[in-house]
Symmetry: C2
Subunit: 207 residues, 2 copies
């Protein structure tokens, strides 16, 4: 395929891959610039975002390592830095004393909240597209993300939306909520899909 060789780049899929590569560079740039403003590093920003948006059962050193695609020792060092800045706390787990749970401090939560608009520049670029294209783009990108997830390049750890028991938009007109949880066998309102859920299970964890 060799999308990065201009001579072989004629296929739509190749040009798309290269465009995604360029977006990656822009996001890296955004990350670093923003990190600097907040007196953080790019890795620290990604870690804070992960801890702010993933289910809390993934809030361990190992969970963070998978979530931001870094090796254990590196992740441990990132946590060191965040702990020094008093944005994160290590607390040994009660149930399994090998694992270390990570908790955002109050300052950490505030910092995370200020980072939520990190992708605004990207979103602005997207919003300049006609809404019909946005719909296709959304579907296509989510399919690509799912593909990369299955291939093991991304680990998704958010509430409901990445849970095997979640059925998105199962009954759109139900007043109790459009989504459905097959574990509780109950409808779910959009609002209720962001809470921490003890029964969360990734599809890959199914036995």
């Amino acid at each position: 395929m060799k999308a990065l060789n201009p001579r072989y780049r004629q296929s739509p899929s190749g040009q798309i891959a290269v465009a995604l590569y360029r977006v990656t560079q822009a996001v890296q740039h955004l990350l670093r610039r923003r990190a600097e403003q907040e007196d953080l590093s790019a890795a620290q920003v990604q870690a804070l975002i992960f801890l702010n948006t993933s289910r809390s059962s993934a809030h361990t050193v190992g969970g963070l390592a998978k979530g931001i695609a870094l090796a254990y020792p590196t992740t441990s060092a990132v946590v060191d830095a965040l702990e020094r800045k008093e944005l994160v706390e290590r607390r040994p787990s009660e149930s399994d004393r090998r694992t270390i749970n990570l908790r955002l401090t109050q300052r950490g939560k505030e910092k995370s909240a200020t980072l939520e608009d990190l992708l605004d520049e990207i979103e602005q670029a997207v919003q300049s597209l006609p809404s019909t294209e946005q719909q296709v783009l959304q579907r296509a990108l989510q399919a690509i993300v799912a593909h990369l997830n299955r291939a093991g390049y991304i680990h998704l750890h958010e509430m409901c939306w990445h849970c095997q028991f979640f059925r998105r938009n199962a009954h759109p007109n139900d007043p109790r909520g459009p989504h459905h949880c097959t574990f509780m066998d109950a409808p779910l309102a959009e609002e209720d899909t962001f809470f921490d859920c003890p029964d969360f299970q990734l599809p890959s964890e199914r036995r």
Copy 2:
């Protein structure tokens, strides 16, 4: 906008931005994994790719810095590492003795060539989409890249200069631009020659 806050993520543009963020993480992961295989770092891989695909007039320390979105001192260090590995050579420019031109060594060229399939995993994910969606995806992503380019988050250094339709300096005194695109039959300013162009075609492909 706050796309990274799940509660505000309902808009298509927000979900698209988050999907792109996830693709970014996958690409970073790919970069590091591949870099390790080749006894390089992620930054070194990006530098080699840049030197292998951009127009040669951008092959200076400063050009590389813009191309991979790093500061001058950092870029200088990356070049140090590549020089140590004998993949790149520094050679002072004849015309302007402040600038340092960068040249891939033979080994550097070979290494760069082996990196061209870096995005294969991404391309595979793309190819699993129907071709109608691919067409929209391509157009939309290139529009986003152009937007990010205009906003200064990406610097593009290819296109035109390697395109069969490009006539460099065809009319040096034309106020609309010194260059010419024979596909559009229109003058081109220097600034306009760096965009991703759907009509790009290498001379060797002419039949």
